[in-house]
C-alpha cells in the first residue's frame, strides 16, 4: 500500500502590538485588572460605532509586505455572527470578503535529521491576512456554575494569517511559525509571544494517499508553544493514519491538544454546525490604501496610508539579516539561524565582533557554545546576561593576544558569570592566569623549578 501523505495548514492569530484597540480608544495591555480596559464600544453599548485604528492598519500592511503579499488597495470589513458571552456585540468585525493582504509566501528553513549541518529551505503560501477583533475572555467557574467575563481583550486588533496546506509535518509547521514569529517581532507588528496569547496557532491536519484527493481534516486548537505545535500535529497525523488503517473514518471536527497527555482530544462542540451569517459592516467605509502613484495630493495626512512609504521603511527581515551575517562574518548558515533565534543574540554577537580582534568565526563558538548554553541553563534572555558584550570582548581580546590560554579564558568566564563587576583583566591578575610572554622570566621560573627539585633532576639526568 502507498504511504500516507500528511497535509498541514495553519491559521495564525497574531495580536497587533498597538497602544489602543482596533476600533476603540481603550488601552491594550497584558494582564491588566479584569475589565479595566473596556470602552463603551468594547462593551457593545447601543449606539456606539467602530473607528479604525491607523496603527493596526499599518501593522497589517507591514506584515503583508514582509510576507510578500499583494496589499489590497481597497479592503472591506464584515460582521461574523455568533452568540458567546465574551463577544458582547454578538458579532466579530473581521475581513471575510476582501482582506487587507492576499497571495503571499513565507520561506522557512529546517534541519534534516536533527543535524544542524543539513538545512533545507521550504516555502509556504500565505492565502491572506485579515484584520479582525479579538474576543474577550470567559472564565468558567464550574463549582459555582457561573461564567466570569473579562472584556480587556475584547476588540484588540488581530491579524489572522492563513497559510495554505503546504506543510507535511509538525517540524515544518513549527519552523514556519517560528519564522513568522521572528518576522513579526522584527517588524514590531506583534510581540508574538505565544505564552501570552499574542500568537495563537490552529492547525488543520489531514492525511491521504498520493494521487488521491485530500482527506477529511481536523482542526487542532489550544496549542500554546511552538514545541507543542510540532507535537500536536505529529500526534494528530499518527492518530489519523492509525484510525484509517484500522478501517475507521476521520470526522471533520475540532480537537484540542492536551499538553500533559501529549495527545489531541475532541472539543465539545455545543452549537453544532455554525452559520456565521456574514454581512458587510455598515459602519465602516471601505478601507482605502494608497501608493505613491495613487496618493491624492490634497488629502489630510492623518487619513492616508501610503503602502510605498511603509515598504521603504521596512527593517531587514530575518532572512536578509542571516544572509548578511553569513556574508559579512563568514559564519555557517546554521549559526546565523541560531543567532537570530534568540532575541538580541545577533546584536550581541556583532558588538563583540566589533570590540575584539578575534575572528568572527572564532567568536561565534564562544557565543553559541559558552554564552548561549549558559543562558539556556539558567533560563536567561540575552538582555539578562551577566556578561555584557564588552566584557566578553575584553576576555576574547586577552585570549587573542595570547595573554591567557583558552583554558584560563573559560575560568575567567566562569568568574564573570557571577556578575561581581570585575573586569576580565582583574580576574586574570587576581588568579594569576596570565600566560608568560618574557623568555627570561620563563627561564627563571624553570630554573627555580629545577633548583627546587634537585633529586628529581639528578634522577632524570641519570635516566
Amino acid at each position: 500500500l502507498a504511504p500516507w501523505v500528511p497535509v498541514v495548514g495553519l491559521e495564525i492569530h497574531a495580536q497587533i502590538s498597538s497602544n489602543s484597540k482596533l476600533f476603540s480608544g481603550s488601552q491594550v495591555q497584558f494582564a491588566a485588572p479584569p475589565n479595566s480596559l473596556v470602552s463603551f464600544f468594547d462593551a457593545s453599548l447601543p449606539g456606539t460605532l467602530p473607528v479604525l485604528n491607523r496603527r493596526c492598519v499599518e501593522a497589517a500592511v507591514m506584515t503583508g509586505l514582509a510576507l510578500n503579499c499583494s496589499i489590497n488597495k481597497k479592503s472591506l470589513f464584515d460582521r461574523k455572527h455568533y452568540f458567546y458571552a465574551d463577544l458582547p456585540a454578538g458579532y466579530q468585525i473581521t475581513q471575510q470578503r476582501v482582506p487587507i493582504a492576499v497571495n503571499g509566501s513565507l520561506s522557512y528553513s529546517l534541519c534534516i535529521d536533527n543535524k544542524m549541518s543539513q538545512m533545507v529551505t521550504k516555502t509556504v503560501r500565505i492565502k491572506q491576512i485579515q484584520l479582525e477583533q479579538d474576543s474577550g475572555k470567559s472564565l468558567h467557574d464550574d463549582t459555582r456554575s457561573q461564567t466570569l467575563v473579562d472584556l480587556n481583550r475584547a476588540g484588540v486588533g488581530l491579524m489572522e494569517v492563513v497559510m495554505e496546506p503546504d506543510m507535511c509535518c509538525g517540524e515544518e509547521a513549527a519552523a514556519a511559525v517560528r519564522e513568522l514569529q521572528l518576522i513579526l517581532q522584527t517588524l514590531g507588528s506583534s510581540q508574538a509571544v505565544m505564552a501570552e496569547g499574542q500568537l495563537r496557532v490552529d492547525a488543520n491536519v489531514s492525511v491521504h494517499h498520493p494521487g488521491e484527493p485530500y482527506g477529511v481534516r481536523t482542526e487542532v486548537k489550544n496549542i500554546n508553544s511552538i514545541r507543542f505545535l510540532a507535537k500536536a500535529i505529529d500526534y494528530e497525523i499518527q492518530r489519523q493514519i492509525e484510525e484509517l488503517e484500522n478501517g475507521g473514518t476521520i470526522l471533520n471536527e475540532t480537537r484540542a491538544f492536551d499538553s500533559k497527555l501529549g495527545c489531541t482530544v475532541p472539543m465539545r462542540d455545543k452549537e453544532g454546525k455554525q452559520d456565521y451569517r456574514f454581512m458587510p459592516e455598515p459602519n465602516l467605509p471601505p478601507l482605502i490604501l494608497y501608493d505613491a502613484k495613487s496618493l491624492p495630493a490634497n488629502m489630510n495626512h492623518q487619513q492616508v496610508i501610503n503602502i510605498d512609504w511603509i515598504h521603504e521603511r521596512l527593517p531587514d527581515l530575518p532572512s536578509v539579516k542571516r544572509k548578511k551575517l553569513v556574508e559579512q562574518y563568514g559564519i555557517l548558515p546554521e549559526h546565523s539561524f541560531t543567532l537570530l533565534n534568540e532575541d538580541g543574540l545577533a546584536e550581541f554577537f556583532e558588538s563583540v565582533v566589533k570590540e575584539t580582534l578575534m575572528k568572527p568565526k572564532k567568536v561565534i563558538g564562544w557565543i553559541l557554545k559558552d554564552l548561549l548554553s549558559y543562558l539556556k541553563q539558567h533560563s536567561l534572555t540575552v538582555k539578562e546576561s551577566p556578561v555584557s558584550s564588552f566584557l566578553l570582548a575584553d576576555l576574547l581580546n586577552l585570549l587573542e593576544k595570547k595573554e591567557i590560554s583558552s583554558t584560563a579564558a573559560k575560568q575567567v568566564l566562569a568568574e564573570l558569570w557571577k556578575g561581581e563587576g570585575k573586569t576580565p583583566l582583574e580576574i586574570v591578575k587576581e588568579q594569576k592566569l596570565e600566560l608568560l610572554q618574557d623568555q627570561k622570566e620563563l627561564e627563571q621560573i624553570c630554573q627555580a623549578v629545577i633548583d627546587g627539585h634537585e633529586n628529581e633532576v639528578i634522577m632524570m639526568v641519570l635516566g
Partner: protein, 616 residues
C-alpha cells in the same frame, strides 16, 4: 460577572413604579376623554378632489392672527385681565417658531426658566398624547437656569441657548433613561450622550425629555412601543373635529383619535402640540417625514453622512439618519446647522467642513427644475393627496419653474429590497441584546443559551423578533446571494435612478410624503406592522436607499381636517437648495396652525389649573 467602570444601571424599583404610573395615567386619560361641543362640521366634498382652499395658500384669511384668539367667555371667569394677558402671551410664546422664541430670549421678553416651565406644564396637560416616554423635568430646569445665567451675563451660547427641545428615545442621553420603547432597555441609563444630543446641549438647548416611538423605531405608526401608542394632536383639533363625521355615541370619541405616523411619532406630536420648539427623530425609511406629514410639522431627513449617528441606537446603519422636526423650514435649517458636520466617532460622516446657512427668501423660481416622479403615483395613493400633489406642481409651474415628469423606474422594487436589507441589519444589530452587559435579563438560568433565548423573548416585541428572524434567514449562507446581495444590487439601481434624474437637470423632486392622511388608531391596528410599514414607507424610503436629503412640508388639511405633507427630495449634500425651495413652498401654502380644542377632564388634577386648555 465582573463590573467595569461606567456600567449602565439597570431599572430600579422607582423606574418600574414610574412606568406603572404612566400606564395608569394613560388609561385614565383615555377613558375620560369626551367629545367637545363643536359647530357642525362642514359637509365633506365626497368623491371629488378637494377644492384648493385659497385661505391655505395665501396669508390673510384663516390663520393670519392664529395665535391670539380671545379667551372664551366663562373659561377664565374670575381671573384678572393681567393674568389672562400673561397667559395668552405665554401660550403665544409656545406657538412661536424656534427663531422667534430665540429672539425673544435674546431681547429678554421671556426667560429660559419660564419657557421651560411652560413647556413642562404643557407636557403635563397633554400627557394623554403619550408623546413623551421620559420627561426630564429636573435636568431641564437646571439647564434652563444655567441658560438664564448666561443670558444675564450677556453671554448666550447662540441661537439654541434656552430653547426647549425633545429627543426621540432611541438617542443615548447620559443620565436620562433611553428605552427605545422596548422592555429590553426599560430602565437603561446610558453613560454617554449621542453626538447630536451633546451638540444641542453644548449650544445651550434645554432637553425636556425623550419622545415615544415604535419599539426600536420599527414601525410607521408609533403604535408599537411598550409604552403604548402616541396620539396625534390633530385628533383634538378644531379642524379635525369639525370635519370628522359626527358619531352618535360619545364613546366613539375614544376610537376617533388618529395615529401620528412613525416611528418618530412622539417627536412629531411634541412639536405639533407646542410642548417643544424642535425635536430630534430618526429616519430610516421615512420615520421622521411620515409623522411630520401626519402631524403638520416640518420633517427633515438630511443626507446620509451629514449628521453623526454616534449614539443613535441603530435600526439600519446604512440608512439611518438623525431627523429634524420643527414648526417651519427656517427652524429646520437652524437645527441642521447646529448638528451637521464630521464626527470622529462616526466614520460614515463626511470629512468636509459643514457651513451652517441661513435660507434666502426665494423670489424667483423660474430657474428651478422640479421633477415629478411618475412612479410615486403609487397604488393606494388617495385621490385628495394626488390632487394636492398636482396642485403643488402647478404652483411651481405658475411661478415660472420648469416642472417635468421624470421616471425612477426601480422605485416599485424599493420596498421589498428595503425589507431584506432592513431585517438583515436588524438581525445583526439586535444581537448585542443578550442580557449580559446591559438591559433586560431573564431569570431563566438553566444555561447561557436558555438565558439568551428567554431574555430576547421577553425583551423584544413580535415586530422586532419577526424582523430578527427574517433577517437571519436572509443572511444564511445559502440565502445570502439570493436575497442580501440581490437586494444590495437593487439598492444600487434605485440610487442610480436618482443620479440619472438629477444629472438630467432636475434640481428637486416633488412627491407626496404619505399615501393618505393619518388613520384612526382603531383602523390602523387592523393591519399588522409589516403590512403597514410596507405601505407607509413606500414614498419615503427610496431616499434612504439612495442616502438623499428629503423634507416633508405641511401643505394642507385633508377633507377630514388632518394635515397632509408633500415631500421634496434633493441632491446629496444640497440641503441648502432643498430647504430654500421648501421654504418658498411653505410660504406659498400657508399651512394652518393647529387649533387645539379644550380637553375636558372631569377629575384630573393636572387640568384643574389649566381649564382653558385651548392653546391655539
Amino acid at each position: 460577572m465582573t463590573a467595569w467602570p461606567g456600567q449602565p444601571g439597570r431599572a430600579g424599583p422607582q423606574v418600574r413604579d414610574r412606568v406603572r404610573d404612566r400606564d395608569k395615567d394613560r388609561d385614565r386619560a383615555g377613558a375620560l376623554l369626551r367629545p367637545t361641543a363643536l359647530s357642525p362640521a362642514a359637509p365633506a366634498a365626497n368623491g371629488r378632489p378637494p377644492s384648493w382652499p385659497p385661505c391655505q395658500w395665501c396669508r390673510g384669511v384663516l390663520r393670519q392672527d392664529g395665535g391670539a384668539r380671545p379667551p372664551r367667555r366663562g373659561k377664565e371667569r374670575g381671573r384678572s385681565a393681567g393674568v389672562r394677558r400673561r397667559r395668552r402671551a405665554g401660550r403665544a410664546m409656545l406657538r412661536a417658531s424656534l427663531r422667534q422664541v430665540s429672539a425673544a430670549l435674546k431681547e429678554g421678553r421671556v426667560a429660559p426658566t419660564e419657557l421651560c416651565q411652560r413647556c413642562l406644564a404643557l407636557i403635563k396637560s397633554t400627557k394623554f398624547l403619550n408623546a413623551y416616554i421620559t420627561v426630564a423635568e429636573e435636568t431641564a430646569l437646571k439647564q434652563a437656569e444655567e441658560s438664564e445665567e448666561r443670558y444675564k451675563r450677556g453671554q448666550p451660547l447662540g441661537i439654541l441657548d434656552g430653547i426647549p427641545i425633545a429627543v426621540k428615545d432611541n438617542f443615548n442621553t447620559a443620565g436620562i433613561e433611553t428605552t427605545c420603547a422596548s422592555n429590553m432597555l426599560k430602565g437603561y441609563i446610558s453613560p454617554y450622550n449621542a453626538t447630536v444630543v451633546q451638540k444641542l446641549l453644548d449650544q445651550g438647548a434645554v432637553l425636556l425629555g425623550k419622545t415615544n416611538l415604535d419599539e426600536f423605531a420599527m414601525g410607521s405608526g408609533s403604535t408599537d412601543g411598550v409604552f403604548g401608542p402616541v396620539r396625534n394632536p390633530w385628533s383634538y383639533s378644531k379642524q379635525y373635529k369639525e370635519k370628522s363625521v359626527p358619531k352618535s355615541h360619545s364613546e366613539d370619541e375614544e376610537s376617533n383619535w388618529v395615529i401620528t405616523g412613525g416611528s418618530s411619532g412622539g417627536s412629531a406630536a411634541a412639536v405639533s402640540s407646542f410642548t417643544c420648539f424642535a425635536a430630534l427623530g430618526s429616519d430610516t425609511g421615512g420615520s421622521t417625514r411620515n409623522p411630520a406629514a401626519h402631524c403638520g410639522v416640518v420633517g427633515l431627513k438630511p443626507t446620509y453622512g451629514l449628521i453623526s449617528r454616534h449614539g443613535l441606537i441603530p435600526l439600519v446603519n446604512s440608512m439611518d439618519v438623525p431627523g429634524i422636526l420643527t414648526r417651519c423650514v427656517d427652524d429646520a435649517a437652524v437645527l441642521l446647522g447646529s448638528l451637521a458636520g464630521h464626527d470622529p466617532k462616526d466614520s460614515t460622516t463626511i470629512q468636509d467642513d459643514f457651513k451652517p446657512f441661513e435660507l434666502p427668501n426665494l423670489t424667483d423660481v423660474s430657474k428651478l427644475s422640479i421633477g415629478i416622479p411618475k412612479e410615486y403615483h403609487a397604488p393606494g395613493l388617495s385621490s385628495e393627496i394626488l390632487a394636492l400633489w398636482s396642485k403643488a406642481a402647478d404652483l411651481f409651474k405658475n411661478a415660472g419653474a420648469k416642472v417635468v415628469e421624470v421616471s425612477l423606474p426601480h422605485t416599485p422594487y424599493s420596498i421589498v429590497c428595503y425589507h431584506v436589507l432592513c431585517t438583515a441589519e436588524v438581525a445583526s444589530n439586535m444581537a448585542r441584546f443578550d442580557g449580559l452587559e446591559y438591559g433586560h435579563r431573564s431569570d431563566v438560568k438553566d444555561s447561557t443559551e436558555s438565558m439568551y433565548a428567554a431574555t430576547r423573548r421577553e425583551g423584544f416585541n413580535d415586530v422586532v423578533r419577526g424582523r430578527i428572524l427574517s433577517g437571519n434567514y436572509f443572511l444564511l449562507k445559502q440565502n445570502y446571494e439570493k436575497y442580501f446581495v440581490k437586494a444590495q444590487k437593487v439598492r444600487r439601481l434605485i440610487a442610480n435612478d436618482f443620479v440619472k434624474v438629477f444629472r438630467s437637470g432636475v434640481d428637486i423632486l416633488l412627491t407626496p410624503t404619505t399615501l393618505s392622511d393619518a388613520a384612526p388608531y382603531t383602523e390602523f391596528i387592523q393591519e399588522d406592522n409589516r403590512t403597514r410599514s410596507a405601505q407607509d414607507d413606500i414614498l419615503t424610503q427610496a431616499a434612504n436607499m439612495a442616502g438623499l436629503p428629503a423634507i416633508s412640508v405641511p401643505t394642507a388639511l385633508s377633507e377630514r381636517g388632518l394635515p397632509v405633507g408633500l415631500q421634496f427630495i434633493g441632491r446629496s449634500f444640497q440641503e441648502k437648495q432643498l430647504l430654500t425651495v421648501a421654504k418658498w413652498f411653505e410660504k406659498q401654502v400657508q399651512f394652518p396652525v393647529i387649533q387645539l380644542e379644550e380637553v375636558k377632564r372631569h377629575d384630573s388634577d393636572v387640568f384643574q389649573h389649566q381649564k382653558s386648555a385651548s392653546f391655539s
